[in-house]
Symmetry: C2
Subunit: 208 residues, 2 copies
Amino acid sequence: MEKNALLAERNRGFFRAKKLLVLNVVSSPGSGKTTFIRETAARLGARWRVGVIVGDLATDNDAARLRTAGIPVVQITTGTVCHLDADMVAKAAGQLDLDKLDVLIIENVGNLVCPADYDLGEDLRVVLLSTTEGEDKPLKYPPMFHSAHVAVVTKSDLAIPAGFDRQQALANLRRISHHAEVFELSAKTGNGMQPWLDFLVRERAARG
Amino acid sequence: MEKNALLAERNRGFFRAKKLLVLNVVSSPGSGKTTFIRETAARLGARWRVGVIVGDLATDNDAARLRTAGIPVVQITTGTVCHLDADMVAKAAGQLDLDKLDVLIIENVGNLVCPADYDLGEDLRVVLLSTTEGEDKPLKYPPMFHSAHVAVVTKSDLAIPAGFDRQQALANLRRISHHAEVFELSAKTGNGMQPWLDFLVRERAARG
């Protein structure tokens, strides 16, 4: 763990030198990470070039989905390991032409527990909470939600059929992720994407 | 891990002596474990008495939800641990009057990775896959889906708005959970619950 913290700081320094904005996207399985990243990359594409590192226990399905959208992507398959670590990310980043990128998005393994303890050297940890998962998840997985800089409520198009209690969800996020920026959107319909993209543009611009 | 395997076998023997049918219910966060268990217990209630042990990192929300339905329940809060283990289950079971129960349902921590490696002494491992998570989850979390005796597709009421590819999901389950019984249902609407309940009644009856 301590070794991971050191390697994460090395990553952080390396990414800063490259003027990359680096996001570590974490969530439950099936919260819509890949669709969210694909739509973010596509919509930022006119202004900033986005690369992706994606982690899964098995398959390269997510990498394939991103690659067909023209996004440079490296897949890490972790086997039975429930999170990415800084060393895996360093090795994967070495397979991308970082000088051609402005933003690097790391899609972590779908898991609301293990990735909380592993700094990857990111600038921003982004936790997704989909409307179909229920509004209590921040309370039930506090280390992850507490450690996030940004919380994104995804699948807002399914909020009504899923019976999502939006006010309760936002209250729970305020309680656990009290320092986090909060966005609500549907990557599928595009609703609510713009404030999130504006935020990223500001964050990236602040890095020169 | 080896110690867990021994304690799990001890649990298994103890539960058999008590003629309990024991389920270990695993899934992603927000797949609907608690609603599924509550509806299962309520509908079995006329015939079999059901008790529940529920695991979460934090909060006793799930226990409270089950208790208001009149179900005997013990909550385990694991702190930062991403799964239940056999020792936690043995201690929690000691707080239930097992002689008054026919079925014991263990709701594991919401996680598709860590609980795969921890036998709790259950008779049946039941993995849930909600329609809102997407049909690729068995491929992406093979150890968990491979180890399950039963796979339940939940939230079938949301299949259409979520764009769930049912045929692909069933094909993926056949590929990874090839020995598992598969059920499709909505605990919220009650649709599809009956075949699952009939299955449990048969399994419980086989235990004398």
